[in-house]
Symmetry: C2
């Protein structure tokens, strides 16, 4: 396998992280600030086991970071590109939804949230 193949593999793997509704939902929860696993569970509606697994994946991939606080573990988004990626795709999806039959309001809302999260308050810890 040549170098380019490895690159494609890595990039595909990264996109794969975001190719799962459950993970997007979790990340969406974390956009508004850091949360413990349990808080993510409540906010996302996923099971505890599932949430933990996904958070672990995202952690090992470097999308989120974590720290202990007593018995809890607090997760937060650290990947500086994540918000950009989601915004870009949301715009794509939104413009496509327009053409068909749109659940548009929530898209705009989501986009706003992503914009806020990335733009001002938590403009992240510089480059990776």
């Amino acid at each position: 396998m040549d170098d380019l193949s490895k690159v494609f593999e890595s990039v595909a793997q990264y996109f794969g992280l975001l190719a799962e509704p459950a993970r997007l939902r979790i990340l969406h929860c974390l956009c508004s600030g850091e949360l413990s696993v349990n808080e993510v569970v409540e906010a996302s509606g996923l099971t505890q086991a599932n949430t933990s697994r996904h958070l672990n994946l995202l952690y090992r991939a470097g999308v989120v970071d974590r720290r202990r606080d007593g018995t809890q573990v607090i997760y937060r988004i650290v990947d500086p590109n994540f918000v950009d990626l989601c915004r870009t795709v949301c715009i794509t999806v939104a413009s496509r939804a327009d053409a068909h039959s749109p659940p548009r309001d929530s898209l705009l809302r989501l986009e706003q949230q992503l914009g806020e999260a990335g733009g001002s308050e938590r403009n992240g810890p510089a480059a990776a």
Copy 2:
């Protein structure tokens, strides 16, 4: 299923398109210009059946467009966001590879190509 779920579903599906090395390889071929299926087959090293299938997927998803030319079918990238997405992720992956053990040259090369493709010659039909 509420609206937000649908959004996550759609976004995940879009990311899923890019979560496959074969498709990235195909899209990379198409970055330098439109190609017939056969040309993509030769350039990518994939089988004809596979290439056709992936191209079809990308077409139905609106990432590429196609037209007939005699017996051939010519594909080209139309999604205005695709190049941006790839560049963003490539930078992420590259900065991560730096930390470990880098096949860096090809990353930079790829990034350049993506940059050229998106930046000047084929700067797409404005924003979506």
